[in-house]
């Protein structure tokens, strides 16, 4: 009798322990409040639409962005040391998706609040269908984003005009390569949160430099 009670207690304690230990990744996205939320990068009001993204920091703060480009600008500036999780929204259904699990479609002509032209989808098939429907757009995965040029459409125009093509050339040349990467990385990707962050961090900085270059290019032109 006593043994059984002991066993039961032990089982309960173990269950509690396991649930705490394994349920570590408990960051959740919160809803957008249009009245009060402003983009942590550009200060614009965050609309409750498909372009909103957010970072939940390790101490539970939610940073909202009106455009995924602003989120990557923030990551480029601050690194992702404090980042618990990053979320984007499904373009079709508006549900929040972890940024590393989403698929992305980029074209300079897509209209987004800060004109970065990157849209996010929960399902690869939806993203592909969108590209087919629009007749334009490059499919990307989260792995491709840190290397994305993050040029806003105006910068692209100006860079073309002024012949400042360092980031242009990289971008155009990288396009097809990215698609391949996406296919091979897609599966083995979801599990290891920690390792991935480490890798992303340096990549994020690179993206930051690319971003800064892009802005410089735009301003110089």
């Amino acid at each position: 009798m006593r043994n059984r009670r002991l066993a039961l207690t032990f089982a309960l304690v173990m269950a509690a322990f396991i649930s705490v230990a394994c349920g570590g990744d408990e960051y959740t996205a919160r809803a957008v409040s249009e009245e009060t939320d402003r983009c942590a990068t550009c200060n614009m009001a965050v609309a409750d639409d498909a372009h909103a993204t957010q970072i939940v920091t390790k101490d539970g703060r939610a940073l909202l962005f009106d455009d995924i480009g602003c989120m990557y600008a923030w990551l480029a500036e601050h690194g992702d040391g404090d980042v618990g999780a990053a979320f984007v929204r499904d373009y079709r259904g508006l549900r929040w998706v972890k940024s590393e699990k989403a698929y992305y479609v980029y074209d300079a002509s897509f209209k987004t609040p800060m004109a970065y032209g990157v849209l996010s989808f929960a399902d690869k098939s939806d993203a592909e269908a969108f590209i087919a429907e629009q007749g334009k757009g490059v499919l990307m995965t989260a792995d491709d984003l840190p290397n994305h040029s993050w040029a806003v459409n105006r910068d692209m125009d100006r860079a073309h005009g002024e012949g400042a093509h360092e980031h242009d050339a990289g971008h155009v040349g990288d396009g097809p390569g990215h698609a391949d990467d996406g296919a091979s990385h897609g599966e083995g990707h979801g599990g290891d949160g920690a390792g991935e962050h480490g890798a992303d961090r340096t990549a994020g900085r690179d993206a930051g430099e690319a971003y800064a270059n892009a802005r410089e290019g735009g301003a110089a032109a």
């Binding site: 249009e34 402003r38 200060n43 614009m44 609309a47 409750d48 639409d49 806003v152 105006r154």
Partner: protein
């Protein structure tokens, strides 16, 4: 619902009848030119006259003068043509289609004096222009979605028009669309319009050298929103009760002069003027009054902010990550807090008047010999912990600011603050001039009344 629709139909029919009667009573010459269109109006007494056939029938380069009455869109103008209302406001173009009520696809089209009601959902603008050199004047637009969209319509002008949302007041801003929306439209002119209750009242993107002058923008999300556009001139506009009066982002060489941005305070993120990533721009002689933040400057370099009147705001000016700017000759009066600055040390700030600062002017040159330093403590704190904003101006916060005030390197500092304001202060509205005129008229009336009384008294005696 249906009752009101019937009533509207009856009213429209009555209008057509009345206008027909009026026309019939006019001299023969005038009636003759109007006859063909009048006939059409009579034939379709119940429904509005389709606009497209009239446009198709008009020869290229002609002036199509519309009789008073209701006309049905959507219509496309694909040739140079002027479409005018015979009398301003007497012609209404209605469209319940998702397409624009009026689409302009040819260069040099003119629209004048039309009322346009677009009820076909949020995505179709009331007027869409996709060709250069259009002139839109005196339009009165009520739209569920966009009012006027100009895309690749260089040198077009929108003047003296009124645009408002047909959606009931309140609700979310995202349910609305922009009032006047420019995309890749250079050298355009937007003058003397009134835009209210829209998403962004005036929005321009990738459009250089646009002139935005003398407009009234109110109760919208952003009054004037400029993105990725260089050389914009924003002058003499009135912005009231928007989330932000002028949102100027990623621009080069913009001039903001002589505008009034008042009472942008309803939203927790409100400000009068916001500059983000602005370069080589000038903000001069504006009045920012009663806003949450008067002028908010982030990531902006090499701008001049001079001669502005920053009155009765919660926070006068906020500087973040901004360097190489010149801030001179402004006056801060009656703000709860004058300024906040963070990572913005290298700006030239001098000869401003700060009413909360007590300086000492020993040499009598009008400027204080003590410097006015802006403590960044509160901003640093609330950037990390936004909820601490409830401690705004609390005694404890003042104490902590003093405690952390030892190292002043990197602070924004007015090197020579003025000891008295340079100008008269109360200019929160443009009505002071007309007020004086009204006063003079009143005095004249009073004098006349007195004269009448005196004269009549003399007669009775």
């Amino acid at each position: 619902m249906t009752g009101s629709r019937i009533a509207r139909g009856l009213r429209a029919a009555a209008l057509v009848l009345v206008s027909a009667a009026l026309l019939a009573a006019r001299p023969a010459g005038a009636a003759e030119t109007a006859e063909p269109r009048l006939k059409q109006a009579q034939q379709t007494r119940q429904a509005p006259v389709p606009l497209q056939p009239l446009i198709d029938a008009a020869p290229e380069g002609a002036v199509l003068r519309l009789e008073p009455g209701e006309y049905a869109g959507p219509a496309t103008i694909g040739k140079p043509l002027a479409v005018e209302a015979e009398a301003d406001g007497a012609v209404t173009v209605v469209s319940a289609d998702a397409r624009p009520a009026i689409a302009v696809t040819a260069a040099g089209v003119r629209l004048r004096g039309l009322r346009i009601e677009q009820t076909g959902g949020r995505d179709g603008p009331a007027v869409h222009v996709s060709a250069p050199d259009a002139a839109l004047e005196g339009l009165d637009i009520k739209a569920e979605g966009f009012g006027i969209r100009l895309e690749r319509a260089d040198r077009s002008a929108v003047r003296g028009s009124t645009i408002r949302s047909s959606r009931p007041s309140g609700g979310r801003f995202t349910e609305r669309r922009n009032g006047i929306d420019l995309y890749e439209t250079h050298d355009a002119v937007i003058e003397r319009n009134t835009v209210a209750s829209m998403y962004d009242a005036i929005y321009i993107e990738n459009s250089d050298n646009v002139r935005i002058a003398g407009n009234v923008v109110e109760s919208s999300r952003y009054g004037i929103h400029v993105m990725y556009s260089d050389g914009t001139v924003i002058t003499g506009n009135d912005g009231r009760m928007n989330v932000t009066g002028a949102m100027v982002m990623t621009v080069d060489g913009v001039l903001l002069e002589g505008n009034i941005f008042a009472k942008q305070s309803e939203n927790v993120n409100s400000q009068g003027i916001l500059l983000f990533a602005a370069r080589n721009s000038v903000v001069r002689g504006n009045v920012v009054s009663g806003n949450r933040v008067g002028i908010y400057v982030e990531g902006s370099t090499d701008n001049r902010i001079e001669g502005n009147e920053i009155t009765d705001n919660f926070m006068g000016i906020e500087l973040l990550d901004s360097e190489g700017n010149e801030i001179a000759g402004n006056q801060w009066i009656g703000n709860v807090a004058d300024a906040g600055a963070r990572r913005s040390g290298a700006n030239r700030i001098e000869r401003n008047f700060w009413d909360s600062f007590s300086g000492v002017d020993a040499d009598g040159d009008g400027a204080s010999d003590l410097r006015y330093a802006i403590n960044p403590f509160f901003l640093s704190l609330t950037e990390r912990r936004p909820v601490f904003q409830v401690l705004f101006q609390s005694p404890g916060m003042k104490f902590l600011e003093g405690l952390y005030g030892a190292d002043r390197s990197g602070w924004a500092v007015d090197a020579a603050p003025l000891v008295s304001p340079a100008r008269e202060t109360d200019r929160t509205s443009r009505e002071s001039g007309s007020g004086r005129a009204a006063g003079a008229a009143g005095a004249l009336l009073l004098a006349a009344a007195c004269a009448v009384i005196i004269i009549s008294r003399r007669r009775t005696t």
